[in-house]
Structure formats: structure tokens, C-alpha cells
């Protein structure tokens, strides 16, 4: 009965002239907002465009992540990373989790180096940074810290995968006033805090993984330096004395060695 009345009400609303509908304030609960708020997507696009325009920048990030053990118990861990970026084809990354790791990309050669093992592996590569993110993932199963930042600004950013997007108000992140957005995409619920004043820089990213009932969450805090003072030479890997070259294992299922 209630459903019938509701349906009838909807029909009545629909049959009204447009002008009247527009002037009628929406009754609470009657007009649900669209699942994907276009303004939230536009904020994401705008941020991506801005990042794409930045030719040189440095990012420092700290992630607090969770892994889930077989019985559902969660363990938390912390890791740090520094990314030095010079578009279009220079990248250097130092990650410091349990062990330090380094990545060098000078536009011709891509090197992964483990200072702890004293071993490195180099492969020729000359693609864009977005292509680098893809290549590392597909060929070597390697994920870059904050790889999303290189995706969101690219023309083929997968915004169509976002099934829900909303604006969640303003919040302070490390003293910076930010606009808080919440998205749902596949099995990831994710939240992004973009600086509300000045350049639209992402300051915090939180991802909740819904594929596991324990719902592990990672929270990345992001610090920016838009005018870094690094030199172009630091993107070329020079093997330290005694370092050993090894061959990267390529994921068998995907592709041949380039």
C-alpha cells in the first residue's frame, strides 16, 4: 500500500510541468541525490589536470596499512616513500618500509635497486610515467607509491569505474583545510582530501578494501614540494661498487620480457 502511494506520488510529480517541479523544494527523502555526484568527479579531474601540469615536484608520503591474517586478525604497518618527479620521463623513488628500495628512471633505463641486497636490475624503457606505472605492474608485479596520482591526470583515467561519489564536507589535514570526497570503486571504498585553498593538491588518501570482510584500510598522508631543488642527473642509476646485476622475474601470465 505504501509502495502504491509512493508510486502514485512519483507519477504525480512526473506529470507536473517542469517549471513547477523546479520550483518545488524536494521533500526530505523523496529525491535521492545521484550516486555519482558530478562535482566530486570534477574535483578529481581538476586535481588530476593540475598534477599533470606540474613538471617537477617532490612528494613525501607515509602510509599506515593493514594486512589481514588467515583468521581475520589485522596487523598494521607503516612505510614511507619519497618521489621525485620530472615530467615527462624522469622519476626517482625511495621507499622505506621494512627495507629500503630504490627506483630510477631516466627516460631510457628503468632500474630497481635493493641497497640491502646490493642487487639491482635494469631494463630499457622510454615510455611516459603513466606507462611506467602500467609496465611495472603488469610485467613485474611492482606497485609504485601513490601510483594513482599518475593515473588520475591521464586522459584514460578510469573514472567510469566509480560507482558512487560524494562530497563529505571540509576537514583539516595537517593544518591544511581540505575538501573531503568519498568514492566507491569496485571493491575499494576510498576517500580523498584535496586542499581547499591554493593549488588543488591531494593531502590524504584512505582506502578501505571491501573484498575482505575484515575490511583492511590504508591511510596515506601526502606532503608536497612543487619547486624542488633536485638535479636532472639523479635519475640515472650509477651502480655502487660491488653491486650485482640480476634479472627481474617477469610475471609469466602477462607478457614477454620487453
Amino acid at each position: 500500500m505504501v509502495r502504491l502511494l509512493f508510486a502514485g506520488g512519483m507519477l504525480a510529480l512526473l506529470s507536473l510541468p517542469c517549471q513547477v517541479t523546479a520550483q518545488t523544494p524536494p521533500a526530505p527523502g523523496q529525491q535521492a541525490a545521484p550516486a555519482v555526484d558530478p562535482q566530486a568527479i570534477e574535483a578529481l579531474r581538476g586535481m588530476g589536470r593540475f598534477l599533470e601540469q606540474q613538471k617537477r615536484f617532490e612528494i613525501r608520503t607515509t602510509v599506515m596499512g593493514e594486512r589481514v591474517l588467515a583468521d581475520g586478525q589485522k596487523l598494521q604497518h607503516t612505510a614511507r616513500a619519497t618521489l621525485e618527479v620530472e615530467r615527462p620521463r624522469h622519476l626517482r623513488i625511495l621507499t622505506e618500509g621494512r627495507k629500503p628500495r630504490e627506483l630510477f628512471y631516466n627516460g631510457q633505463l628503468l632500474t630497481l635497486y635493493s641497497p640491502q641486497l646490493g642487487e639491482y636490475s635494469s631494463v630499457p624503457f622510454d615510455g611516459s610515467l603513466e606507462a611506467l606505472v602500467e609496465r611495472l605492474e603488469q610485467y613485474y608485479g611492482v606497485e609504485l607509491p601513490l601510483a594513482d596520482l599518475f593515473i588520475w591526470g591521464s586522459p584514460d583515467a578510469p573514472f567510469q569505474r566509480i560507482s558512487s561519489a560524494m562530497y563529505a564536507g571540509q576537514a583539516d589535514v595537517d593544518g591544511v583545510l581540505c575538501d573531503h570526497y568519498a568514492f566507491r570503486q569496485g571493491k575499494a571504498d576510498w576517500q580523498l582530501w584535496i586542499a581547499a585553498e591554493g593549488p588543488p593538491l591531494p593531502r590524504k588518501l584512505a582506502i578501505t578494501y571491501r573484498g575482505d570482510e575484515a575490511r583492511p584500510q590504508s591511510v596515506s598522508l601526502i606532503d608536497w614540494k612543487l619547486s624542488p631543488a633536485f638535479s636532472g642527473q639523479r635519475f640515472t642509476f650509477v651502480p655502487p661498487a660491488g653491486a650485482r646485476q640480476v634479472v627481474l622475474p617477469v610475471r609469466a601470465a602477462d607478457a614477454k620480457q620487453p
Partner: protein
């Protein structure tokens, strides 16, 4: 390391640092102090905290069913023990995130090596390790590194773990 040798290391470190510090203007020294992150630009020091004795982690910590998801568009959440749907957007990949133990270099094969070793499943337990294993002492644990696979001793057996480096 004895107290005496530790002291002499400290003294020599201070002496070495002295000539470097002296020519620096006070402003520059202050700036360096305010930016501890500058150390990133130096080559990372090989074994950090190498002298700190470590206990091996409980074997249960190697039994991970979901890893941390740190990127929305690039995800390779892995499940080594149960076959379940794991991907966010793409096909689930095989390794950990950037914050995890996994490093492809640690599973790499040395240039010129001819033996291809298939990696064993992390978490599986064996009574003995293959003949080509190399013992690697790290953090007080003597691992057996066999090509792509790392074994950690557990009682009289061995458990396959992620590369500890």
C-alpha cells in the same frame, strides 16, 4: 661491539664530520637541521639498525590472506592461502604493495645463472630445503635462499616466507 670500540667509532665519526661541518656557514647548518629529510638525497645506508638484535616474527604473521591496498587503480591484493576473488579493478596480481616485503630484485636470478627455480607458495612448510639453497643471515635469522624462494627455519622444518629484504 665492546664499549671501547664503540667509543672509538664515535670519536672517529665525530672527527670525520668535523672538517665537513667547519666550513659550513651557521645559516646552512641551521637549514640542514631543519630539514632532516635531506638525508633522502644521500645514498641510503646499508643495514640500518644492523646492531639491534631481532627476534623472528611469529610464523602466523606470514599467513596473510589480504594485503594492504594502497592504490585504487593499481591493485594486486593477493591471497596465498585461499582461492578467492581478490581484485578491485583488474585481475588480481601476485605480489604485495609497495609497502610490503616483496621486492622483485630479491626474487631475481643472478645474471648468468642457468637454474630457473619456480617460487614455492608463501606459507607452505617443508621438511628440508633444496640442495642449491644459500644461507642468508638477516636480523638474527638464518634464512635459506633458493633462487626465488626464501625459507625461514621453524622448529625442525622450514616455512616459505616473503623475501625478508
Amino acid at each position: 661491539m665492546s664499549e671501547r670500540s664503540r667509543f672509538s667509532v664515535l670519536v672517529s665519526a665525530a672527527l670525520c664530520a668535523l672538517p665537513l661541518l667547519l666550513p659550513a656557514a651557521p645559516a646552512a647548518a641551521g637549514r640542514a637541521l631543519q630539514k632532516p629529510g635531506k638525508a633522502v638525497h644521500a645514498k641510503p645506508s646499508v643495514p640500518k639498525h644492523a646492531d639491534v638484535p631481532r627476534r623472528p616474527a611469529d610464523a602466523r604473521t606470514a599467513n596473510v590472506r589480504s594485503r594492504s591496498v594502497n592504490n585504487v587503480n593499481v591493485n594486486r591484493n593477493v591471497n596465498v592461502d585461499v582461492d578467492r576473488d581478490i581484485d578491485v579493478d583488474r585481475d588480481g596480481c601476485c605480489y604485495g604493495g609497495w609497502d610490503d616485503d616483496y621486492h622483485p630484485v630479491a626474487t631475481a636470478v643472478a645474471v648468468g645463472a642457468t637454474v630457473a627455480v619456480t617460487a614455492a607458495v608463501v606459507g607452505s612448510i617443508v621438511n628440508s630445503v633444496p640442495a642449491n639453497c644459500v644461507p642468508v643471515n638477516h636480523g638474527g635469522v638464518v634464512y635459506q635462499r633458493c633462487g626465488n624462494t626464501w625459507y625461514q627455519p621453524q622448529g625442525t622444518q622450514f616455512i616459505v616466507v616473503n623475501p625478508p629484504y
